[in-house]
Symmetry: C2
Subunit: 337 residues, 2 copies
C-alpha cells in the first residue's frame, strides 16, 4: 500500500475550533483512505472531540500543543513566542518532513509569516503568494496573490502567474490555463505603474498562456483561470465577493418575504435556488494554498465549518500526488536560466 | 423667478446615444422646472429626437457639434483634435460659464482629461477624483476615487476624504458623514505603504469624521458614508459590484427556471424581488461626479439609459443650490492654512 498523504491540521485555529475542525478532519479520512491527519492541539480537548466519531485509527494521530495563537495577536511575535502553539507545531510537522501539508483556520498573519519562516520558500521563489479559488459562472478561478505580499514588484507577479498556472493545470485539471492580470481597462496601455511594468513581461513569458488584462467585472464571469494581482487588490476582490454576495442574497430573501404571494413563491423556489447558489459559495472550494513553500500550507476561512476543513484536507492529496512543488521548482528555475 | 440650473448634456456620448440621452434629459426638465438642459450634438439628429416629446421650450436648448469622440479613442489626443465634438463643446459650456454642469455617458478617459484641462481645477485641489455613489444595505455610500488618479499620494487621499464629506453632507443630506479608508484588515497597522502613510493623517484631520479602516467586505453593508481609496482599488471595487451582482442575479434567475415547481414560485416571487433588487441597482443613483473642478462634471455609465441620465441631470440641481464648490474651496483652503 502506498504511503499516506500526511496533513497537519491546526485543531485549535478558527472561530469554530476544535469542534468543526476535528469533525472536518474525520470526514476527510472517512472519505479517502489515502490521507492521514495529524490533529495538533490540546490533547485532552482533541481526544474528547474524537470520541464522537468512528474512523480508521491508522489515519488519525493526535499531537499535543498546549498553547493557542489568537487571531488578534501580532503574527511575528506570536510565531516567535508561542513555540508550543498548535499553529507553530503544525508548521514544524511540515518543516521536519513528518507531514506533507498544513491546514489551519487560525490567524492568517501567523500562517503567512510561519509559512515563510518555519516551512521556508522553494529556492528561487521570491514571495510565496496566498491563492484562493473563487467561484465563477463557469466554475472557478485562482486569485493570486490575495493578502500575502502588499506592495509587490513586477518580478513577483510574474512568479505568481507561473505558480498559479501550475496549480490550475495539475491540481484543478485545467489544460493550458488562461492567465490574466487585473487592470482598470481592457487596453494594453491602461493601469498603474506596477501593472504597466508587469504587462509586457507577462506577454513575453513563453511558458504561460497570457490573455491580457481582466477588468474586475469580468472576474465572476470566469474569463480567465489564473487572476494575477498585487495582494492589496486581491484582498479587495476576495472580500467584495463575500460582501456583495452576502448583501444581495439577504436582499433576495427579504424581497421574498414582503407579501403573502411572494412567501408562497419563495417556498416553491427555495430548493432549486439553494442548489444554484451553492455553486457560488466560497467555502466549498476548501482553503487557499500558499504556493512556493517547501510543503503545502493551506489557510481556510476563520469561520470554517467541517465541510471546508474536509475539502482543504482532501485537496492536499492531489497537490502531493501531482508533485506540484517539483513542477513549481522547474518552472521557476526555467525562468532564471 | 430664480435662474435655471444649466446642464450641458453630451447628447452623442454613450452606447445608447442619442435616443436614451435625449429622452432622459427631457424627462429631467419635465420633472423639475428649475433645470435647463443644453443638448450638445449633431443638430439635426438631436432635433429629430426632440420631435418625439413635449416639454417646456425655455428649458431646452440645442447646441450643434459635428464630431463625436468614440470610447476607444486615446483621451488626450481626442480632446486636442476634436474641438467640434459634443463632449469637448459641452465641457466648454461649463468652462465659459454658460452652464453650471456637464453630463456625459461618453468616453470616461476624455471626460476625466477634459474635466481637468478644459473646466480646470478649483485652486488648491491637487487631483480631482471621480466619485460614484454605490448602493449599500443601508442606502448608499460615496466611493472616492474610482478611476481618475492611479498611483495617488497620501495628500490626494486626504483631499478626497474632505471633498467626499462635503458631497455626502450637502448633496446627500448625511449629517457628519463617516469616512473610512479601504484596507485589508481592521487594525490600524495593516495595509500597504500608501494606506499606512494616509491613516494617521486622516486620523488627525479635524474637519472630517474619520472612523478608521474598512474592509471591502463591509462596504456593501454600508458601514461608512465616504469610502476613501486610490483609484485602481476604487475601480476594482466598483466593477466587482457590477460583476458579482450581475452573475449572482443571473444564477438566481437560472435557479428559478430549473423545475416546474420553481418556475411557478418564480412567477409569484418576481414583483417583490424586482423592488428589493432595484435598491441595489448602480444606475438608479445617476452618474459619478468628478469633484474639485470649477463646475460640476458628471460621468454616467457608458450603457446609461434615460433614467440614469435624468437622475444625473437632477443631481446637478442640489449640487448648484448647495454651493458645493464653494464649500469644497473652503475645506481645501482650511487644510492649507
Amino acid at each position: 500500500m502506498a504511503e499516506f498523504v500526511k496533513v497537519a491540521v491546526d485543531a485549535m485555529g478558527g472561530d469554530n475550533a476544535p469542534v468543526e475542525i476535528v469533525k472536518g478532519a474525520i470526514e476527510a479520512v472517512n472519505e479517502d483512505h489515502r490521507v492521514k491527519v495529524f490533529l495538533v492541539g490540546q490533547e485532552e480537548v482533541v481526544k474528547a472531540e474524537l470520541t464522537k466519531y468512528t474512523y480508521p485509527e491508522e489515519q488519525v494521530e493526535v499531537v499535543n500543543a498546549a498553547e493557542i495563537i489568537e487571531t488578534a495577536e501580532p503574527p511575528v511575535m506570536a510565531i516567535r513566542k508561542k513555540k508550543d502553539s498548535s499553529l507553530v507545531k503544525a508548521l514544524y510537522l511540515v518543516k521536519d518532513g513528518t507531514c506533507d501539508a498544513y491546514v489551519s483556520a487560525g490567524s492568517t498573519g501567523a500562517t503567512l509569516v510561519g509559512g515563510q519562516v518555519i516551512v521556508g520558500r522553494i529556492k528561487g521563489v521570491e514571495r510565496p503568494p496566498l491563492a484562493p479559488l473563487i467561484p465563477t459562472a463557469k466554475g472557478c478561478s485562482l486569485l493570486i496573490d490575495c493578502g500575502a505580499n502588499v506592495d509587490a514588484r513586477a518580478s513577483h507577479l510574474i512568479q505568481f502567474a507561473k505558480m498559479g498556472s501550475v496549480y490550475m493545470e495539475y491540481v484543478m485539471g485545467v489544460k493550458n490555463p488562461k492567465v490574466a492580470i487585473v487592470n482598470i481597462g481592457a487596453e494594453e496601455d491602461k493601469g498603474n505603474a506596477l501593472v504597466k511594468e508587469t504587462y509586457p513581461l507577462l506577454k513575453n513569458c513563453p511558458d504561460i498562456n497570457f490573455v491580457g488584462n481582466i477588468e474586475a467585472r469580468d472576474i465572476p464571469e470566469g474569463k480567465a483561470d489564473v487572476i494575477v494581482c498585487e495582494a492589496f487588490v486581491g484582498n479587495v476582490i476576495l472580500k467584495m465577493y463575500e460582501g456583495v454576495g452576502g448583501v444581495l442574497i439577504k436582499k433576495v430573501k427579504e424581497g421574498m418575504m414582503t407579501s403573502l404571494r411572494s412567501k408562497i413563491g419563495a417556498l416553491l423556489v427555495k430548493p432549486a435556488l439553494k442548489n444554484t447558489l451553492k455553486a457560488f459559495d466560497l467555502e466549498q472550494y476548501g482553503g487557499a494554498p500558499m504556493l512556493g513553500l517547501n510543503g503545502l500550507v493551506v489557510k481556510t476561512h476563520g469561520s470554517s465549518k467541517a465541510v471546508e476543513i474536509k475539502n482543504s484536507v482532501l485537496q492536499c492529496i492531489t497537490f502531493k500526488e501531482q508533485n506540484i512543488n517539483e513542477k513549481i521548482k522547474e518552472k521557476i528555475t526555467m525562468e532564471e536560466s
